[in-house]
Amino acid sequence: MSDYRVLPGPEHFLPPAAASMGICLPNPGEAHINGVIAPEEKAYEEAARQFLMAKVPTIFPGPLVLWAWNEKAAKKATAVRHLFNTLVECVQPGQKPMLIPMPDYRPKYPKINPEVEINPNHPNLTIWHNRIDCCMFIGVHCHQANLSLKIIRGGTSCYTIAMCAQAGHEDAMLSFRDASVEKIMKLADTVKRLKGTVQPRLASANNGVSS
């Protein structure tokens, strides 16, 4: 097994793709945490804990759930909204959950508005601007998600979670695979269950931004 660990950055001027460092994707029923294969149950706990610890826990829904291109996508979008509402209900004063869409992958130089969207080609702008210290990708095409997750790891200290509908993402610090409505709802349930048990790190979040 690789000694490399997928951890919050800022890691490097050009960090490596985690797969090239020997990090493997989980098999069905598994997840990974920091690049180490873990039971999915443990990943729900850790993802919920990271959300509840974060100053600005954020969900980035991508095109695969933002657009109602089939019935499953519409249901997932509803589940994502439920997860966000659960976060809003469960955080403590001073924490600021956000829901920022990645509607498409068009590069938008130099005019991206980091308050309203995130773009896979320069996701760090949105992370930095909103001081996001924990985020979850869902409904983003795998190639674009890996691109973003690696850039975020390179230039920010944001903790990244991937709720992937396919095989998962090594470049996230925590990744589920085979994401479904049920898994999103289960994560929301776990957040609710852990409410009040996790101390938020309100003072320490700086997202890799120099002050």
Binding site: N70, D104, Y109, H141, H143, Q166
Partner: protein, 403 residues
């Protein structure tokens, strides 16, 4: 959008049953058939649920491409045509794959070289096109004969590169290849190479799966990039700011894109091991002498081992099946006991020996040869001679006159 699993057990328009690929390859009955490699390509494609096949004639792949035309006439292929050149063919393959089709093509030698610009584009665009490369000479003066130099040029394109030894490999790997390259975490093109003529134009017994069973269709909705979105990369290629702008972020994006392609090659390792039963095959790896080879050089190496055994020299064999992903750990493990490693190759530069030297400890153990090229055959006796010379044993010259 239908779930791929929901079509298993149903029939296509030719009456073939969509079959779980693992069952098709490992449990379905096999029929021994006496075919050329080109005919085997046709038979594999008959079972591949392929949407589009495009090619341009070039020896020694022309026969396979023509035979696939017969499949089209019979209704097994969705669309089939001849492009204007290999460059055009590979661009047309990209267009079909961008549109969500399962795509197949064949090429060889100078055709591969002419089309080269497209291959890093394919991998960058995450297009799981399968390309058969029936290797032949590429340099001037013209040679249509077997020579594997063109594989060296494919190794850094970001494509998966496999090197078949036999027509049986070819049949199985064409079908299994789609399973690996279409995985969403891989989703890369596959260059499935063989040594032209030696495999394409000789007959061999090949065990075929039933003709009335076929692969499940390709599901483009599992692609890691949007299918044919004209506004987004990778389709929107050249006018995008991240390609054209000069700033740190655009460079970092492009760099990360390249890293992701090679990460996908790495991810193919797990799937390739699953489908090919390992990235290498080995025999007698406890021996002090090991032959490491790919393609038909494996067959010649195997025969050389038999000849050496007759003389009391024990020798092991490593058959390298995948060049990308490169079986680094496997080769290190298989050669750890070897004092001498011989790498017979059908090309002038010895690209396989270079890869192996860069992989193992004590690379001075590698004897980069014997090598032949330009269409020469490689008699097992020259491998035997190379090994015996290195061991200080008496050997005879194969040069004939003047010896």
């Amino acid at each position: 959008m239908a779930d791929i699993h929901s079509v298993i057990g149903t029939k296509n328009k030719k009456g073939q049953t969509y079959t779980d690929t693992w069952k098709l390859m490992n449990e379905a009955p096999r029929t021994p058939s006496f075919f050329t490699g080109s005919e085997v390509i046709k038979e594999a494609l008959r079972r591949a649920s392929c949407d589009v096949m495009i090619a341009y004639p070039i020896t020694p792949q022309s026969e396979a491409a023509a035979l696939i035309g017969e499949l089209f006439a019979e209704g097994y292929i969705g669309d089939y045509f001849r492009g204007e050149s290999e460059f055009a063919v590979m661009s047309q393959c990209a267009g079909a794959a961008f549109g969500g089709a399962r795509v197949f093509t064949t090429t060889a030698g100078p055709g591969t070289m002419r089309a080269m610009e497209n291959f890093p584009m394919w991998s960058g665009a995450r297009l799981p096109i399968q390309m058969i490369v029936t290797c032949r000479g590429i340099n001037s003066p013209l040679s249509i004969q077997p020579d594997t130099l063109e594989i060296a040029y494919l190794l850094n394109t970001g494509m998966l590169v496999w090197h078949a030894e036999t027509a049986q490999d070819f049949f199985d790997w064409i079908l299994k290849g789609y399973m690996v390259s279409e995985e969403p975490d891989v989703h890369l093109p596959l260059a499935l190479c063989c040594d032209g003529f030696f495999v394409t134009h000789t007959k061999d017994v090949v065990n075929l799966t039933p003709a009335d069973m076929c692969l499940p269709p390709y599901d483009p909705y599992r692609s890691p990039v949007p299918c044919m979105d004209m506004e987004c990369p990778p389709v929107r290629m050249m006018r995008d700011p991240f390609v054209m702008k000069s700033n740190y972020i655009s460079y970092a994006t492009h760099a990360s894109w390249q890293q992701e392609i090679w990460a996908a090659v790495e991810r193919s390792r797990k799937h390739s091991i699953h489908w090919l039963n390992g990235l290498i095959d080995t025999e007698n790896t406890d021996a002090e002498i090991i032959i490491v080879a790919s393609g038909t050089a494996v067959s010649q190496g195997r025969e050389a081992i038999r000849l050496l055994e007759d003389e009391g020299v024990r020798c092991g064999l490593v058959k390298v099946k995948t060049l990308r992903p490169w079986p680094e750990e496997e080769i290190r493990e298989a050669t750890k006991n070897a004092k001498h490693i011989f790498v017979p190759e059908f090309n002038v530069t010895g690209w396989l020996a270079k890869e192996i030297k860069a992989t193992i400890s004590n690379p001075e153990r590698v004897h980069a040869g014997p090598r032949v090229c330009g269409g020469m055959t490689m008699p097992p006796e020259i491998i035997v001679s190379e090994i015996k010379t290195a061991l200080g044993m008496k050997t005879f010259s194969l040069a004939g006159r003047g010896s």
